[in-house]
Symmetry: C2
Subunit: 107 residues, 2 copies
């Protein structure tokens, strides 16, 4: 991805009472989101949390999903009309509310 | 980056008392880390937090830095001998302790 692009990160908290279905997320949710948002999405990545900074410490996030857009405008115009459908799918793979962060790609 | 790679994320919390020098981070810290870790690093990205999921909400993280490695083994062997030098540079650009997350690239 290139400097100046918009990265939208969805961070699913880890925890003993938190569940996350990585197979559903990768094979159903992310393709659904990509289909809804169409050409506005310039890239999508998913990571599974393995651990924290010190040995044997848990990962803060069970999963991180990231979408890249050319601008805030293309993100908002594609995401806005689809946000209800996207949010409604979250209980199908996670029981915790994700943290959403909008960032600008610097490097 | 490719499926199965290791992504090490360093997440710097946002907050009214938190400072973060993005110029120093991008132009001094990240090149220093890349130089210390050498060929083990397969990619590096940096993002600046712009906002959260709801309008006008703040970003959870002021900055996110990510390094990619081929395996946990190459990460640990390159990072271990350099961790003290890397950590000692953090006060030069941030006054808060970052969250570190080790992840596996799924998509």
């Amino acid at each position: 991805m290139n400097k100046g692009m918009i990265k939208v990160s969805v961070l699913y908290p880890n925890g003993k009472d938190n569940t996350f279905d990585m197979d559903y997320y990768c094979n159903t949710h992310v393709p659904m989101v990509a289909g809804l948002l169409g050409d506005a999405v310039k890239g999508a990545t998913v990571e599974k949390g393995l651990g924290g900074g010190s040995p044997d410490s848990p990962a803060t996030y069970a999963a991180m999903g990231n979408l890249y857009f050319d601008s805030m405008d293309t993100f908002e115009k594609s995401f806005g009309p689809n946000i209800d459908a996207i949010m409604a799918d979250i209980p199908n793979f996670a029981n915790s509310e994700p943290i959403i962060q909008i960032s600008e790609v610097m490097i």
